[in-house]
C-alpha cells in the first residue's frame, strides 16, 4: 500500500470537476469494514475521523483515519463509493463523526468538510 496522495494537483485530479459540485455533497451513515480492533476500541462517540483515499498502484480504497493517521476501517459497503472516490480525486474532502465504536465495529456519519 503506497498510502495517501495528498497533492490535489496530481494528475489524478479532474480539473473539470469543481470542488464545490453539488453531486459531491454526500452525507451518509455507514459501518466501517475491515475494522482494526485496536484503533476502534479507543474511539468514542463524537470523535472526528478523516476520510482518506489510499492508493496501491492504480487501486484505491477509502478509509477513515484518526488524527494520528491510524486507519480504523474502510468505507466500502455502500453504492456511492465510485462517486465518492471521483469527488475526492476532484478535491472534495470528507470527515466522519464516530457514532458508535467497539473493538468489533465502528459506525460513522460521513459528510463533506470543504466546498
Amino acid at each position: 500500500m503506497s498510502g495517501p496522495k495528498p497533492d490535489k494537483n496530481s494528475p489524478a485530479r479532474d480539473p473539470r470537476r469543481p470542488v464545490g459540485g453539488g453531486d459531491c455533497d454526500q452525507r451518509f451513515r455507514i459501518d466501517l469494514m475491515g475494522v482494526r480492533s485496536a484503533q476502534a476500541a479507543r474511539l468514542r462517540p463524537g470523535d472526528l475521523l478523516q476520510v482518506v483515499l489510499l492508493y496501491d498502484g492504480d487501486l484505491r480504497a477509502v478509509v477513515c483515519q484518526t488524527d494520528r493517521a491510524e486507519t480504523v476501517g474502510a468505507l466500502s459497503a455502500f453504492p456511492g463509493l465510485s462517486q465518492l472516490i471521483e469527488c475526492m480525486e476532484g478535491g472534495a474532502t470528507y470527515s466522519a463523526i464516530v457514532e458508535r465504536s467497539s473493538p468489533q465495529a465502528c459506525g460513522v456519519f460521513v459528510s463533506r468538510s470543504n466546498g
Binding site: 469494514m33 475491515g34 480492533s37 489510499l54 486507519t71 476501517g73 474502510a74 473493538p103 468489533q104 465495529a105
Partner: protein, 210 residues
C-alpha cells in the same frame, strides 16, 4: 488437532465460529491483500477466543490474477484465480502441523465457489491424497453444500463481528469493488435484511403472545 485455513473472510470466519478449530491458520503466500487478511484473522480470533497462527511463504512469483497483481490466466473462471491455490494451502498446512498431531484440515469452500479447487471432485481427491500419506490427515469442507448466506445462518456467526471480516482480493483495506468485496457486500446486505425482518417480526410475536 483440527486446523482451519483462515483468510479472515466471511465464509472462513463463519466456519471458525461454527466448528471451533484448534488453530486458525492464515497463510501469507504473497497475495496482495495478505496484510488485510492477517489483521482481520487476528482480530476475529481474539474476538472468538480461538488460536490463530500466520505462516509466511512467499509464492508471489507463481501467482496469477488479481490477487497477485498479474494478468488473469485464460484458464481462470474468475479474475482472482491463483493456480492450485487450495492444493498449495492444504499442503502448507499439512507440512506445518503434521508432526504436531494434525488430524484434519478444514477449508472454507462454499456451494457457490466457481474454481475447481472449491468443488467436490477436488475436495474428495485431496482428502484421499492426504490420508494416503503419513499422518493420515483428513481434508474437509464443512460448508461445501451451503451458500454463503446459508452458512452465516447455520453457523450463527454474530452480525456484530461482521465489520472485522475482510474479503478484498486486491488491497490491504477493502476496495469495495473487486469480486471479493462484491460478494462480501452482497452477503452483508442479505444479513442486514434478515436482521431487519426478524426485528420487525418480533413485536408481532409479542402481541400474539399477549
Amino acid at each position: 488437532m483440527r486446523v482451519l485455513l483462515f483468510s479472515g473472510g466471511l465464509d472462513s470466519s463463519a466456519i471458525a465460529y461454527w466448528k471451533r478449530p484448534d488453530i486458525c491458520l492464515t497463510v501469507d503466500y504473497g497475495q496482495r491483500p495478505a496484510r488485510g487478511e492477517i489483521a482481520a484473522a487476528q482480530a476475529i480470533c481474539a474476538e472468538l477466543d480461538l488460536r490463530q497462527e500466520t505462516l509466511a511463504v512467499d509464492l508471489k512469483a507463481l501467482g496469477s490474477g488479481t490477487m497477485s497483481g498479474k494478468p488473469t490466466s485464460r484458464l481462470a473462471k474468475a479474475e482472482e484465480w491463483w493456480p492450485y491455490r487450495n492444493q498449495m494451502l492444504v499442503t502448507l498446512a499439512g507440512m506445518r502441523f503434521v508432526a504436531d498431531g494434525l488430524t484434519e484440515i478444514m477449508i472454507g469452500a462454499v456451494k457457490t465457489d466457481v474454481h475447481a479447487d472449491g468443488k467436490y471432485p477436488f475436495l474428495r481427491t485431496i482428502d484421499r491424497l492426504m490420508t494416503l500419506q503419513e499422518g493420515r490427515v483428513n481434508v474437509t469442507a464443512p460448508a461445501r453444500k451451503l451458500s454463503p448466506e446459508k452458512l452465516l445462518d447455520v453457523s450463527g456467526f454474530p452480525l456484530s463481528a461482521i465489520g472485522l471480516t475482510f474479503s478484498c482480493h486486491v488491497m490491504e483495506y477493502p476496495c469495495g469493488r473487486c469480486r471479493g468485496c462484491e460478494k462480501h457486500l452482497a452477503t452483508l446486505a442479505w444479513a442486514k435484511r434478515r436482521s431487519r425482518n426478524s426485528d420487525e417480526r418480533e413485536p408481532r410475536d409479542e402481541r400474539t403472545k399477549t
